[in-house]
């Protein structure tokens, strides 16, 4: 009934001078659809503008002001300071350290995750026909679990003497370090955990990609006498290029924001060696430096956007 009441004005908007033929009926149909579409879009649009699109712009605006915690109740009574927050962030030694750590986490973590994911996908696709779904579900399990909980567990796995990892390493004669207390090993520990938790997600996508490649491709390679590795490297990997692109972008975006891992496992230490940009942004927010935190989050946002764009360009060509 609401569409009947809305039909009139909407139809007028589409065609103000109705013709006697089938035209008015047609524009009436379009009007009804337009009205229905906006009714259906309205709740989303309101929530989306208020809680996503608005804050995206708000964050940008805030990053050019001197807003602090004391301005919380009067967010519009602040002064513009131009690019001061960006200058401050980029010349802050600790922020640079956090940026370096984040780059470290991404540059090592993303390729490692994809290699493990691809290896697992090939293993399941080629070798494990029986119980394949069991393995697929098993490898995917960590992806659905809370990073906070996983980080708590891994703190015990990585404990120096009573931990699971060093015990297992001890069996083969390796004296493992005190992972999380070492400036050298803390970051690799976080990367190791991230790979463990996330490879299942990329693996599922790779599996779908592999299953989409026709058998004739492999058979052609076999006829030409190419070894299994060469078939994989020169026939399968190029065909997986779009999938690899996609998983690297999605994994990269996630890793650039890593936060829970240092929050729970190291609090950014030792000596800021695992402090991430997200973690530092959160700390500045906690200190009440709202506009500085906003500028830091925007730097991260721009880096994410640029890297995503570059990855698409890079992998699309060739």
């Amino acid at each position: 009934m609401s569409s009947a009441t809305l039909k009139g004005p909407a139809a007028q908007a589409v065609g103000p001078t109705p013709r006697p033929s089938s035209k008015p009926r047609r524009s009436g149909a379009v009007g009804r659809q337009t009205a229905a579409a906006w009714i259906l879009a309205l709740p989303f649009a309101v929530l989306f503008l208020a809680f996503t699109a608005g804050p995206v712009l708000g964050s940008l605006g805030m990053s050019f002001t001197d807003m602090k915690q004391r301005d919380l109740r009067t967010p519009f009574a602040v002064n513009g300071v131009g690019f001061d927050n960006y200058v401050k962030a980029l010349s802050d030694e600790t922020f640079r350290k956090a940026a370096f750590n984040t780059a470290y986490f991404v540059v090592i973590g993303v390729p490692l995750t994809l290699v493990v994911a691809l290896a697992a996908a090939v293993l399941l696709d080629k070798g494990v026909k029986k119980f394949q779904s069991l393995f697929r579900v098993g490898y995917y399990l960590p992806v659905v679990t809370s990073i906070v909980a996983v980080a708590v567990i891994w703190r015990f796995v990585l404990a120096p003497d009573s931990g699971l990892l060093n015990t297992v390493l001890g069996w083969i004669g390796i004296d493992g370090p005190n992972w999380l207390a070492s400036k050298t090993w803390a970051m690799p520990s976080l990367i190791m955990m991230a790979v463990w938790r996330n490879f299942g997600s990329a693996m599922i996508i790779f599996l779908a990609g592999l299953q989409g490649i026709p058998h004739t491709v492999e058979e052609a390679g076999q006829l030409d006498g190419a070894s299994a590795w060469k078939r994989f490297r020169y026939l399968i990997v190029p065909l997986l290029r779009p999938t690899i692109l996609f998983t690297s972008v999605v994994t990269g975006i996630g890793y650039l924001q890593f936060f829970e891992e240092p929050f729970v496992m190291t609090q950014g230490g030792p000596l800021n060696s695992t402090l991430s940009v997200s973690m530092y942004t959160y700390q500045q927010f906690g200190f009440g430096n709202y506009s500085l935190a906003a500028s830091m989050s925007y730097i991260l946002f721009v880096v994410i956007a640029v890297l995503t764009f570059l990855q698409f360009r890079l992998l699309r060509e060739k």
């Binding site: 609401s2 569409s3 149909a29 379009v30 229905a36 579409a37 906006w38 259906l40 879009a41 709740p43 929530l47 989306f48 809680f51 608005g54 804050p55 995206v56 708000g58 964050s59 605006g61 805030m62 807003m67 919380l72 293993l123 070798g127 494990v128 393995f135 098993g138 490898y139 399990l141 992806v143 659905v144 679990t145 809370s146 990073i147 906070v148 909980a149 996983v150 980080a151 708590v152 703190r155 015990f156 003497d161 009573s162 699971l164 463990w196 997600s201 996508i205 996609f246 975006i253 936060f259 829970e260 929050f263 997200s278 927010f285 906003a294 989050s297 925007y298 991260l300 946002f301 994410i304």
Partner: protein, 269 residues
């Protein structure tokens, strides 16, 4: 010949994936003293449910569990409702503004929560919703991902059904609600589970907005316990991790078909 070692690698991989969870489960029944033992024990020597009774007694975890469940259920209901509405409009209805709307929604698909949380905190605080359930819930009631998933699914349904219903005089909203929506049950199941899991595991926003203990969700409580005065209370933390992880594992194992299908539809977790 070739088969067995492939299976061996696959099984070793599975053990590596599962070991931390098994370690967690076994550890939750150990005392703090046993958890510090060198070399560590596998099976608890004297299994105790002390960690759990403390967790559900003194530590107020039933409250956090309730908060997490309430938030996740409302967020899921919101996403199912609002994302399917817009997804349908974008996939099946002709209207002005369709393309810009779609571009706008997709443009924010990858916007990280990190970018929006500061102004969002200011907004929610000034709306008087800090440290409240609406404050925890409202920002997550809709998601671009949900719209994308539902739009993809609706786009795959035939137009004939709608045309037939129009000829019969069904209203546009009736076509959506009574004819098309029931056909998307598989997509709704996928979206529902992914949203529930995402909300259950969400951390940054609840950490920012839940200021008193009675509004903590499970991940917030666990993270603050593990970095606060209970940092050395290992058994309690293990049991806490079990309470956070096990419901999710159960839901995932029961509905895993839908989860992997969602990844196939959209390519995104």
């Amino acid at each position: 010949m070739r088969r067995w070692w492939i299976y061996l690698i696959a099984v070793l991989g599975l053990i590596a994936v599962a070991a931390p969870f098994v370690w967690m489960l076994l550890g939750s029944f150990k005392t703090d003293g046993e958890l510090l033992r060198v070399p560590p024990t596998w099976l608890p020597e004297a299994p105790t449910n002390g960690n759990y009774s403390e967790l559900f007694g003194k530590a107020n975890f039933p409250r956090y569990f309730f908060n997490s469940t309430l938030v996740a259920l409302v967020v899921t209901a919101g996403n199912l409702t609002f994302c399917s509405m817009l997804g349908y409009a974008l996939a099946k209805l002709n209207f002005k503004g369709r393309t810009p709307l779609f571009v706008l929604v997709m443009g924010t698909l990858m916007v990280p929560g990190m970018v929006t949380f500061v102004p969002l905190f200011v907004l929610v605080t000034n709306a008087g919703l800090a440290n409240s359930y609406p404050g925890l819930i409202l920002p997550f009631l809709v998601s671009p991902f949900g719209v994308f998933l539902m739009r993809q699914f609706f786009a795959g349904l035939p137009d004939d059904l709608m045309d037939a219903a129009r000829v019969d005089g069904t209203s546009e909203l009736g076509i959506f609600g009574r004819i098309m929506l029931p056909l998307t049950r598989p997509a709704l199941a996928t979206l529902g589970i992914l949203t529930f899991l995402g909300s259950w595991n969400n951390f940054l926003w609840p950490l920012v907005i839940a200021q008193t203990e009675d509004k903590y969700t499970l991940p917030v409580a666990l993270a603050l316990y593990s970095t606060g005065q209970n940092a050395q209370h290992y058994g309690l933390l293990m049991a806490g991790a079990v309470v956070v992880v096990v419901p999710v594992l159960v839901i995932f194992l029961a509905f895993q078909r839908h989860v992997t299908k969602g990844i196939a539809i959209t390519g995104i977790k």
